[in-house]
């Protein structure tokens, strides 16, 4: 793997972001709106709920972490979609660029774009609504790491899906976070869910993050081993998603899909 090639994929996206307000604004605009909405919601709930309950750290903190995961996933898929929209597959895949370098480029790009979203959320949540990351302790960084890996896994999976099913299947990719969120227990403990949903939840790395976050805010102790499981799952899912992308790409090369990829030829 040559890092310069992966960097080229990320550089292409940087050029696009730099030259387009329509691309740059969504990096932080929607998450900022989320922070404002849920920040005031948390304040209101704090004022009407039993004293001692801290909605800023449970609710607003959860929204911040979930939005971070969503930005990571979209950071990966957006770079890929730019190639779909500009019908750039032939130019990109007829070069020495390997699949691992291409996927590496998607990940490099999302590191930068998701960091912008995280920074804006952090500034708003702390400066306006008094969210303190000290409430999560040293576990906050591992929480972000697990969500980042899971976002990368889902992003790569989404790219593979669109490569296989065609540009119209973008529609399947955008709602994936909404589909996952009831199972991940973003806003409630997993014990709230019926047994079968809990079984699904334990396969999702964010479940470990949000359970841990709530435990820490409530003043309980949270086992790092549990989060290690979440992290391990996320790593396995990144590898599985990469293998899936590679397999779909191989199919596309065998069938000629890469060379004539368009809405007309695939869907």
């Amino acid at each position: 793997m040559r890092p310069r090639r992966a960097a080229a994929v990320a550089l292409r996206h940087f050029y696009l972001l730099r030259g387009s307000v329509a691309r740059f604004l969504p990096l932080f605009a929607w998450v900022a709106i989320d922070m404002v909405l849920w920040g005031f919601m948390s304040r209101y709930l704090n004022s009407v709920a039993t004293p001692g309950l801290d909605f800023v750290h449970t609710l607003l903190g959860a929204v911040l972490l979930w939005d971070f995961f969503t930005r990571v996933m979209q950071g990966v898929t957006m770079v890929f979609f730019e190639d779909v929209w500009s019908r750039n597959f032939l130019n990109v895949f007829a070069t020495p660029l390997s699949i691992s370098e291409y996927v590496g480029g998607l990940v490099l790009s999302t590191i930068a774009t998701s960091a912008v979203g995280l920074l804006v959320m952090w500034v708003l949540a702390t400066a306006v609504f008094g969210l303190s990351f000290a409430a999560y302790g040293a576990m906050f960084i591992p929480f972000l790491a697990v969500l980042f890996l899971f976002g990368v896994a889902i992003g790569i999976f989404g790219c593979a899906l669109v490569l296989r099913l065609g540009p119209a299947s973008e529609w399947f990719v955008w709602p994936i976070p909404a589909l996952i969120s009831p199972f991940a227990g973003v806003f409630y403990p997993l014990s709230t869910l019926p047994g079968w949903m809990q079984a699904v939840s334990w396969l999702l790395p964010p479940s470990y993050v949000f359970e841990g976050m709530r435990t820490l805010v409530a003043g309980g102790s949270f086992s790092g081993t549990s989060l290690l499981w979440g992290g391990g799952l996320a790593v396995v899912q990144v590898l599985l998603a990469s293998a899936f992308f590679s397999r779909v790409h191989r199919h596309a090369v065998r069938t000629g899909l890469i060379a004539r990829y368009s809405a007309e030829s695939v869907s």
């Binding site: 550089l11 130019n91 020495p96 191989r250 090369v253 060379a259």
Partner: protein, 266 residues
């Protein structure tokens, strides 16, 4: 039917440089989609300093062949070597020596000329990239479009950008799929000059497809006529028509398109 007695129309053609080595070797290449055979056991090579025209009617298998050489389509069987590198086994190493421009694959219109060249220059691992970009902008008369988005350029300007990108890594094998389609005659002649210059340097070979027989006769040292996935004829574009009783390359092309079986038997 006996062959017509005609006087072939010939042009002087490009100066023939005897190829010193092969930059592309295609052997028994076949691509089948289920029961449909798109390319059927094609073998040919391209020498260093040589411009080879790949001709044939629509659906003959030219673009399928080029896509296999570009590594974006897996052959059902057969082999492709770029210089001595097996494309199937060492894809990246083989494609580092290759580049292409195709009328149906313009560079992203939402990036400027310089941005596109930088991105692809990094992918191809071009050394001293800034200097190389400046050199190509000069060579292809693109300096004033350096910071212009490719999408707003004219067809001719976009073709020049695509060719500049194709020259970035000083390829040993240059694949050109109808590079002058939709260009005005003056721009097309300009493009042909540049491709001839590239080949005459003797570092790389060119595989060129075109439906403009005048252009092919003017540029190519050798042509391969494809029909129904097979190479039916091969030879010098200036003498091949006469060898098959046709007055011009265009007439030969039409014969290949309409009566491929007769030519195959011949």
């Amino acid at each position: 039917m006996p062959p017509l007695m005609v006087t072939p129309v010939t042009t002087s053609g490009p100066t023939r440089v005897p190829p010193t080595s092969k930059v592309l070797s295609v052997s028994s290449l076949r691509k089948a989609y289920g029961g449909t055979v798109a390319v059927d056991g094609v073998s040919f090579d391209v020498g260093r300093g040589e411009i080879v025209g790949l001709l044939g009617p629509n659906g003959a298998g030219k673009t399928t062949t080029i896509n296999m050489v570009l590594g974006v389509l897996e052959p059902t069987s057969g082999s492709i070597h770029i210089e001595d590198v097996d494309l199937a086994r060492q894809r990246s190493a083989a494609l580092e020596r290759t580049n292409f421009a195709a009328v149906y694959s313009p560079l992203p219109g939402n990036l400027t000329v310089a941005q596109n060249l930088r991105v692809f220059g990094l992918i191809y691992g071009v050394k001293s990239l800034s200097a190389r970009i400046a050199e190509l902008l000069e060579e292809f008369d693109l300096v004033r479009f350096r910071d212009t988005r490719c999408g707003v350029l004219s067809s001719g300007e976009q073709t020049r950008v695509a060719l500049a990108k194709a020259m970035l890594n000083r390829p040993h094998l240059l694949l050109l799929d109808e590079p002058t389609a939709s260009l005005d005659p003056a721009t097309a002649r300009d493009i042909r000059e540049r491709i001839r210059d590239f080949a005459s340097r003797g570092t790389g070979g060119v595989l060129w497809t075109s439906h403009n027989m005048y252009e092919v006769e003017d540029v190519c040292h050798r042509v391969l006529f494809m029909s129904h996935g097979k190479v039916l004829l091969e030879g010098d574009p200036r003498t091949l028509p006469g060898e098959h009783g046709k007055a011009s390359l265009e007439e030969l092309f039409i014969a290949v398109a309409r009566e491929p079986l007769a030519l195959e038997r011949a």
